[in-house]
Amino acid sequence: MTTAVTVTEFAGSFAEFLAHLSDDATTTLREEAFRYFEAIGFPTPKDEDWKYTNVGSVVSEKWLVNSAGKSGDVGGFNYKRNGFTALNLAFADVVVVRIPSETIVVEPIELSFTAEDGKAIFPHVIIVAESGSKATIVETYAASGRGFTNAAVQVLVEENANLTHYRVQKDSVEAFNYGVTEVEVRRGGHYDSTNINLGAALSRHDIELKFVAEGAEAWVDGLYMLSGEQHHDTHSIIDHALPNCLSHQTYKGVLNDSSRGVFNGKVFVRENAHGTDAQQSNKNLLLSNDARVDTKPQLEIFNDDVKCSHGATVGQLEEEELFYLLTRGLPETLAKNLLTYGFAEQVINKIGIESIKSELDEMVLRRLSTIL
């Protein structure tokens, strides 16, 4: 069995990794997580949550573990989510970003992770936006060659804090990227995230956001733009456990060639979460007959006093939109490119940092000029 082989290979790496760690308070937790990983292995398409995303070919390869093993307070991390999260905690290389209360950080805080060809990295980021603080985090993945990123990010948005979070995954198209983002938003907190997925042969992003107090607001938006044989999967959970919180979710997909996209978005509105306003949409543009997307927006509401909407579309470019641009003299290829660009831009336009926005604009345009 491939899984067993992989587990064994990681076992050797883990023993070596532990031996190099100096007396580390987290060793016990790392061992616990690793044992859990050995017990469950990597997810397979038999798991309902991994039905469309088969990581078999990737995880069966031999990876060189590349982790400095820095420690930090990773308590509270749900490492039992799956084999990746367990393995992340075992090898975790922790970075802690703490924004002191009532502090406004004007410059964006940039975190960049590069998995080199044949190597596996295990970044584990803890972001705490203390009460009344305001900051912007830019989290970037830029693997080279066949790098393997297994990342975990824990975010805590405290009372009345305001956190903008951009996650840009622009790995090489041979890379493999798994990432999980866990977010907790407290009273009056604002969390605004934009998740851009452009790279990697195979990528999966799990994002789970919980409102743990009243009167908070969150945006969880994203874009996946795929071509060739790329595969991307976003699984999102937004949990309205308490009253009077607002969530907004817009995810867009642009798929060309024989690429494959998966979007699974659950929104829970719990029994006592009255006054909830939850909006969710997932729109997909298929540019080729061989591209495919599986989308499943799910809304589970257990309270009547709420305002919720959700929807998903999968389609081609609108004929009327295209005709409109043609009648203005744009050649067909340019018109199609422009419409596709516009579709993707609706997510990218959200990005408030001009340098990142224009870099992404460029990437989108470059990709369009080669695929259409």
């Binding site: 609108e318 004929e319 009327e320 939109e321 005709f323 409109y324 641009l325 043609l326 009648t327 203005r328 003299g329 744009l330 050649p331 067909e332 340019l334 018109a335 422009l338 419409l339 660009y341 516009g342 579709f343 993707a344 831009e345 609706q346 336009n349």
Partner: protein, 250 residues
């Protein structure tokens, strides 16, 4: 002659809508095509612009003596044919100025003229926007997205001003406009009128013609032009209703 439509039969989904339409338009002229719902007005606009859903069954359309029907919609546009849409399409994510500059430069390229960079184009656009009293804040907004009905129609005329077509077909441009928006749109069109270009106003109502005086009025019924005259014909129609001309054909 700028446009010559000869015995045009055309339709959609296998249904013949235009049944032998003839029309001649010279530079410097404004023609109004009036007719009741279902007479074929919109079909004529769409066929001239080259909408892929409409098929030409027989007949000829010559633009400056060349076969217009042979050209793709974008080629027609670059040659100088423009249609203002009855329902302008929203293009989210693409700013008005980006879009207009691309369109302008495509046409310039086609005619061997110099393309404009964003700064040069912005100056050009500002001048043109005055024609339809449009606030430059609209330049940055996505094309037609969240525009009111009146703003969309003004945006159509702005596009016309930017692209300077030889032939502009305004398809029900007056529909859904309040009186102020109608005045602004009509004044914009009047400013763009010249001896070099021609305008076809496709409209159900006479109202628009109070503001834009046509040289010729053609009444379309059941896919054919059934009555032609000067601007007084529009007033007569307004008074007597379309039943009057429908009666005249049978």
């Amino acid at each position: 002659m700028l446009l010559e439509v000869k015995d045009l039969h055309a339709g959609i989904d296998g249904k013949e809508i235009l049944k032998g339409l003839n029309l001649q338009v010279n530079a410097g002229e404004v023609h109004a095509i009036m007719g009741p719902n279902g007479s074929g007005k919109s079909t004529l606009s769409k066929v001239l612009a080259g909408h892929p859903s409409y098929e030409v069954i027989s007949g000829e359309v010559l633009f400056e003596g060349k076969d217009l029907l042979e050209l793709d919609p974008d080629e027609r546009a670059r040659e100088g044919v423009f249609m203002a849409f009855q329902y302008p399409v929203e293009v989210p994510g693409v700013s008005n100025s980006q879009f207009l500059r691309l369109a302008y430069n495509q046409k310039a390229l086609h005619h061997g003229q110099e393309e404009l960079d964003p700064l040069e184009f912005n100056d050009y656009l500002k001048e043109k926007a005055k024609i339809v009293e449009m606030d430059p804040q609209f330049f940055k907004r996505s094309v037609n997205e969240g525009f009111s009905g009146g703003e969309k129609k003004r945006n159509e005329i702005l596009q016309m001003a930017v692209l300077e077509p030889k032939l502009a077909i305004l398809d029900e441009t007056d529909s859904g406009l309040d009186i102020d928006a109608l005045r602004i749109v009509a004044e914009g069109v009047n400013k763009l009128r010249s001896s070099e270009n021609a305008i076809i106003l496709v409209t159900h109502y006479q109202r628009l013609l109070n503001y834009i005086q046509p040289d010729f009025v053609h009444v379309l019924a059941n896919g054919k032009i059934v009555k032609e005259g000067g601007k007084e014909l529009a007033l007569e129609l307004e008074e007597k209703g379309y039943d009057w001309v429908k009666g005249a054909t049978n």
